[in-house]
């Protein structure tokens, strides 16, 4: 049976978020995500998240980079077999310098590709079930529940010190527009 309501509890304290997340685990509501203005170890530990796979992209990029850089230097040197400065045609040490720089360059490319694919970015459309206060001073915990549980989930968040934001039904409603005040505190000066 599909969940009907998306409700976000907005907290100002990460410890409150952690205790709410712990309580959510044993509740009938379904945790969706938490939006935070900073990376929080406490929250990540509470969610028991796996290690990111971005590093594999970085590693692959680095390996490709070294092979490409060293290979380019070696390939170009062997086209004419010209001895320059008394060095061997296949001069390992200078080519390692080129290989090293290419390792870093391609590792960073791999890192960026890893980040973009894992974070599912770029996403230029509007953000669903997102409150702009979460990039300021609030930590937003988003959960879903059945329509008849709406009030109890709202109370669940309020009892833990949250400001609550409710989105209308997932079908037909605009996930960008919540019921609660979503104006942000602080704005670009004019």
């Amino acid at each position: 049976m599909p969940h009907e309501r998306h409700i976000m509890g907005l907290f100002k304290n990460e410890d409150q978020v952690v205790s709410t997340l712990e309580a959510l685990k044993t509740s009938p509501y379904e945790f969706v995500r938490v939006n935070t203005p900073i990376p929080s170890h406490k929250i990540m530990q509470s969610l028991n998240l796996k290690k990111s796979k971005v590093g594999w992209f970085t590693l692959c990029g680095g390996i490709i980079g070294f092979i490409s850089g060293f290979g380019l230097a070696a390939f170009t040197a062997t086209r004419w077999d010209l001895i320059v400065g008394g060095k061997p045609i296949m001069a390992i040490i200078p080519f390692v310098v080129v290989g090293f720089e290419a390792t870093i360059l391609f590792a960073v490319f791999g890192n960026v590709i890893g980040l973009l694919t894992q974070m599912r970015m770029p996403n230029f459309g509007s953000l669903q079930y997102y409150d702009p206060r979460c990039s300021g001073e609030h930590f937003g915990v988003l959960a879903t529940c059945e329509a008849h549980q709406e009030n109890s989930l709202e109370d669940f968040f309020r009892q833990r010190g949250a400001v609550v934001k409710i989105w209308p039904t997932s079908k037909g409603g605009d996930p960008d527009e919540g019921f609660e005040d979503s104006r942000v505190q602080g704005s670009v000066g004019s």
Partner: protein, 438 residues
């Protein structure tokens, strides 16, 4: 720091993005005029020939290469602050990391112009690209100049990506607090960042890898720049200490430039609660350390010349202290090693005026250090009949002036249009935070 809150951090930094006064546009226009002066001089050089500069036999490398090394050096402390101090969990770097990273990107851009300027026939730059000539002859990757092409282009790419990635959460914060065209621009720039835990999970890991990759890169780049000289059989250049010597000097000059930029920024943007005196003090203390390392390198060069019993090397270093360019040598020793020792006195490193003045002195001294090394080596080389002197021309001064204006022009544009302090990292600092990220 205790007076800060998330809201205050946001408001202080977002206030800096408010529409600027006419004085800002006036200064920007003056800097743009300076850029145009430099561009005009370069255009003149392209039409008339590289001979309009003062470089000639035996001093074929003049201000263009001096400025190249100077600006690459300036770039380095940005990476030191953003990457190396991030790995060391030095929380005090958070308020200045963004501006220092920006300084890195712009300084590398400016530095990257000089090989083109020095090339003379700039349209022949494709000889440095890994494409074969009409005789299928490829660039020579044994040459340190080719190392340089690879290293500097890698450094520009990596530092730009590092800078942009670090800014993503802040770009989203500006998006969420703006309207109209600015909102649209920042929606595009922030790539859909929402701060969801899944995003942070990958982001913190990716940022850590960025820092871990940028750290060896920054050391390698200035080592490669030093090998442009050290691999040449020129007295004063051909020495094994050049790589660490150049890296230390680069960080020394860059830290001084951080102070030069941060102090006015702190005053103009009312960042006193964010860029605290403690942060500036820490930069000053690091300058003392790098100044001592640089001083040790100066002394070691003399020791090597004396200990080698090599008459050519000994003559080079005698001439360095007593010859035609001795003033440059005195400037570099005084400004880079002795004057920064004043920061040992708390009174001096806690006074804004003295911090600013000493930072300018170190910048001046570091420019002269490059002059002494680059010009001094070839001016007084192996054969006495090939000795000669060098004097920059007005065209060279014009180009140098233009590039300085370009750097400050870009930095001023950045300061009013993007968050000049990382809001995210400042909030992490409040949470006791350097161990928060990553």
């Amino acid at each position: 720091m205790t007076r800060l809150s998330y809201a205050k951090i946001d408001q202080t930094i977002l206030d800096t993005l408010s529409p600027p006064k006419w004085t800002y546009w006036g200064i920007l226009a003056l800097l743009l005029m300076g850029v145009l002066v430099g561009a005009a001089c370069w255009t003149y050089q392209i039409f008339v020939g590289i001979g309009v500069g003062g470089q000639n036999n035996p001093v074929a490398w003049g201000t263009y290469l001096i400025n190249f090394v100077f600006w690459v050096g300036i770039a380095h402390s940005g990476t030191l602050i953003s990457a190396i101090l991030h790995l060391f969990r030095a929380g005090w770097r958070n308020p200045i990391a963004r501006a220092a990273e920006t300084m890195t990107v712009f300084a590398v851009c400016v530095a990257g112009l000089f090989p083109f300027i020095h090339l003379g026939r700039v349209w022949q730059v494709y000889y440095m690209l890994p494409i074969p000539s009409q005789r299928l002859l490829w660039p020579n990757f044994l040459s340190p100049l080719m190392f340089d092409v690879v290293a500097i282009s890698t450094y520009l790419t990596v530092s730009s990506l590092f800078w942009y990635t670090g800014m993503l959460p802040d770009l989203a914060a500006v998006r969420d607090r703006s309207t109209g065209t600015r909102h649209k621009i920042f929606t595009f720039l922030s790539l859909g960042w929402s701060g969801a835990h899944e995003q942070w999970r990958h982001y913190t890991r990716g940022y850590l890898f960025f820092a871990a990759l940028a750290t060896p890169l920054v050391i390698s780049v200035h080592s490669v720049v030093s090998w442009d000289f050290a691999l040449g059989i020129v007295p004063g250049w051909h020495t094994t200490i050049f790589a660490p010597y150049f890296v230390a000097g680069a960080i020394h000059s860059g830290l001084a430039m951080v102070l030069t930029l941060m102090i006015p920024l702190r005053k103009l943007f009312k960042y006193e609660d964010i860029i605290t005196m403690e942060v500036l003090q820490n930069v000053a203390k690091t300058i003392v350390l790098t100044g001592l390392i640089v001083g040790l390198a100066y002394g070691t060069e003399y020791f090597i010349a004396w200990y080698s019993h090599n008459t050519i090397e000994m003559e080079q270093f005698r001439w360095r202290a007593l010859g035609d360019f001795r003033w440059g040598f005195y400037f570099m020793v005084l400004c880079n090693t002795l004057v920064p020792l004043l920061f040992l006195f708390k009174k001096i490193r806690t006074t804004i005026a003295s911090l600013f003045i000493i930072s300018l002195i170190v910048n001046f001294g570091m420019w002269w250090e490059r002059f002494v090394i680059i010009v001094g080596g070839v001016a007084h080389g192996v054969s006495p009949h090939a000795w000669g002197l060098y004097r920059p021309t007005m065209i060279e001064f014009g180009i140098m002036f233009g590039t300085f204006c370009l750097f400050f022009f870009l930095f001023m544009l950045f300061a009013k249009h993007l968050p000049s302090v990382s809001m995210t990292e400042m909030k992490e600092t409040l949470e006791g935070g350097h161990d928060h990220a990553a």
